[in-house]
Subunit: 454 residues, 2 copies
């Protein structure tokens, strides 16, 4: 286990090489024994790196539960690929061993006709059917139907016996309590049950102060609630408060990572990829980026108009154009620093739209300090470049104004987007650079006209 602690990647690569070699030598049983000794997450990591023929050889002899564990850990697209070559009867048997929410995700990604055929071959499809109704990114799509609800009048010893005898690979620490109609009333932990008198009723020891979400709640809301309240299980209820399922923390950890990835991709002006990078075709990646790239390209054409407007000034002094990329690039950088900070503060809830004035005042101060510093360095640069102090002064004043302006725009844009109900991550980065580019050129050349009398 030491290897896993020090260099997980190298350890996995080594095991992968060993298993590949054993399969090549025609010793699949030996390869399976190595795999079976690993934790499911590692089994899946190694399995996913094998060639299709190797995967087939390994799957042949592995116990169904192990196969189910591996498929649960793989990316949806990898499972879909495997589902295509597995015989339907085998696939149905594997799905029977999988957790219902994972099985439902897999069936939801399949061709509908194939999914129906597989469902008919399955033994335990009752828990899965209702899960197929909800979109993947909602509470209904995230929850599992494999949970044990306790009746409110159950004695503690009966509840403990029910938990002990419950036939499920899923282990819970919290159990939800429902009334006679199945409506959610409270929650009780296994430890609370262990510590309570045997003949007490569950409703007398449960916590009634609980947080739940409706079936159509967005996955981001679920993640924020579980993080805010430090929950490990979140109950999902229908419109009549009937308990419909439970979301567990391991699924939410994946959601938190997914949402951060989406924010990062949107901030860089590309539509989020919903698959792992290397599994996504170049064509698909290009499609996810082309929209924003073209929108920004077309808006950036505005800069050509601004420059044409100053054609007379520019032709009088060609060296003015030397500083264009430096000035607008720095303006864009200052603006990006600001938007990234504000967008993330909005995302984790440190700031909300009521804080507009506080944030603006904050960034005005930051803009003054940074503008003054960058302006001073700009003066030195332009002066030494041309030996022209008036040029140095022009760059210094323009740089100061552009950075100050970029900070103000950069702080207002994301807050404005939030007020209009638009995702602020979409407005950041490139969008704001393009805006600052055009206005920055206007500032620069106007300052040049005034100071250099052009």
């Amino acid at each position: 286990m030491e290897a896993r602690e020090t260099d997980h990647e190298a350890w996995v690569a080594q095991l992968h090489a060993r298993i590949s070699q054993l399969l090549e030598e025609g010793r699949p049983r030996k390869a399976q024994i190595i795999l079976e000794a690993l934790l499911p997450a590692d089994q899946a990591e190694i399995f996913s790196d094998l060639e299709e023929a190797e995967q087939k050889a390994v799957l042949q002899g592995l116990p169904l539960e192990d196969v189910a564990d591996i498929l649960e850990k793989l990316e949806d697209e990898e499972v879909a690929a495997i589902a295509k070559w597995l015989p339907p009867e085998k696939l149905a048997a594997i799905l029977d061993e999988m957790e219902p929410d994972e099985a439902a995700d897999l069936l939801g990604d399949m061709d509908p006709d194939a999914a129906v055929r597989i469902l008919q071959l399955m033994k335990s499809c009752d828990g899965i059917r209702p899960l197929l109704l909800h979109p993947d990114e909602t509470a209904g799509g995230l929850m599992t139907s494999e949970y044990l609800a306790l009746g409110r009048q159950m004695w503690v010893e009966r509840a403990l016996a029910a938990i002990r005898n419950w036939e499920s690979a899923r282990e819970y620490f919290h159990y939800f309590v429902v009334d006679e109609e199945g409506r959610l009333l409270g929650v009780v932990s296994l430890l609370q049950l262990l510590r309570a008198p045997a003949k007490a009723e569950v409703q007398d020891i449960m916590d009634r102060n609980i947080v739940s979400v409706p079936l159509d709640a967005d996955q981001e809301t679920c993640a924020q609630l579980m993080s805010h309240y430090d929950l490990t299980a979140l109950p999902v209820v229908d419109e009549n408060r009937h308990l419909a399922g439970v979301i567990t923390i391991d699924d939410i950890v994946d959601v938190i990572e997914e949402e951060a990835t989406e924010d990062i991709q949107k901030m860089a002006g590309s539509a989020p990829l919903d698959k792992p990078y290397l599994l996504t075709s170049a064509w698909y990646v290009a499609r996810s980026r082309v929209g924003w790239l073209l929108i920004l390209f077309v808006t950036s054409m505005l800069t050509a108009n601004v420059l044409k407007h100053f054609e007379g000034t520019l032709s009088k002094m060609v060296s003015l154009s030397f500083f264009i990329p430096m000035l607008i690039g720095t303006g864009g950088n200052a603006g990006s620093q600001t938007t990234a900070t504000i967008i993330r503060a909005l995302g984790v809830g440190e700031v909300d739209k009521r804080d507009v004035l506080k944030v603006l005042w904050h960034e005005i101060q930051v803009g003054l300090v940074l503008g003054a510093l960058v302006g001073a360095v700009g003066f030195l640069r332009a002066w030494t470049f041309d030996g022209n102090a008036a040029m140095g002064l022009t760059i210094a004043v323009a740089m100061f104004l552009i950075v100050f302006w970029a900070n103000s725009v950069g702080s207002l844009l994301p807050l404005l987007a939030t007020m209009l109900g638009v995702d602020p991550a979409l407005i950041s980065g490139p969008m704001m650079s393009t805006l600052v580019d055009a206005t920055g050129l206007f500032i620069y050349l106007t300052v040049a006209q005034v100071i250099l009398h052009l």
Copy 2:
């Protein structure tokens, strides 16, 4: 509870207004009753929005455990502010009620003399002292010392009795098993204990295949392991494999959010803020950004040299300069899209440094497609702008080459950084724009010389 599901913020604001009003009317007891009915996360959210005088009035009458719960949920800086005006005896009594890892964080942030004085006033400081030795962002700083280790030869019924009688507000589902010297051997869940025969030994039912981290493991490593293996508790061991503490999933959820924030801020070229935005002074924010802003400003001065090199070409045709911002801006955008995708893929482990060639080939294809599209639009724009087809051709060819080049550089930079052991998030965004700016200008003006015979 419905309000919490639909609009959490409005509900909190309403409670906050009610509590403020009660305090103003001199009815702190009533305000406390409302607070006591809430979950700790909500108590803390409301408490943190109160004025200092209001906080004092509320704290006066709240039970010590409630105060401890609230302080655990507040930001470190807010707790530090409160610790300054609380009488030392009261603070010590509150710390006695807090979880040891949270208490150690608070003491670690205090002035060392004050912290020593408080420690002397505390009753239960034994668990805290060792935690003070480890940096906040390592496994040792994240772990709690409040856990129950089971001896390997313990009978199941004895283990269950020990768990039942353990006096701690902390509830665990997994318990770690140690040998006579306290060395970590395995893990057992409460449910496994419940299902096992009363006289079985713990070592016969425990899982031996466990994941652990050393005291100095980075918090990001801990987060990746807990996410990869779907763990809710991660044991921390010293160099002799003695169990030293346990990291729980709620702390890791915070770490995952923190690390994503850090990545986003670094990608926008600013040092990460370690406090919530509005609690950070403008001066501190400016300091976190000025380093990168100046470095990028100074490197961007290179663009002035490139342009000066082409001074002859530019003065022959001033309209060439009109397209400069558009060309390098679009190159920067294409590059940012690429780096953001690759950095995130590296961050969540979808890609590693051995995938260099695969990634490069992928981005070369994407660059060809996007370059061709943007080049075509650029041709139309430049042609209609000037009525000059040769100018249109120049822009089209330059745009195609720049986008293709930006995609290749954008995919190689983060991977190169990883190979050199540098954080790839630092290389992205602005850094890569600056590089693409200078090289893009060179490409553009060389193409112009060739096509326009300048």
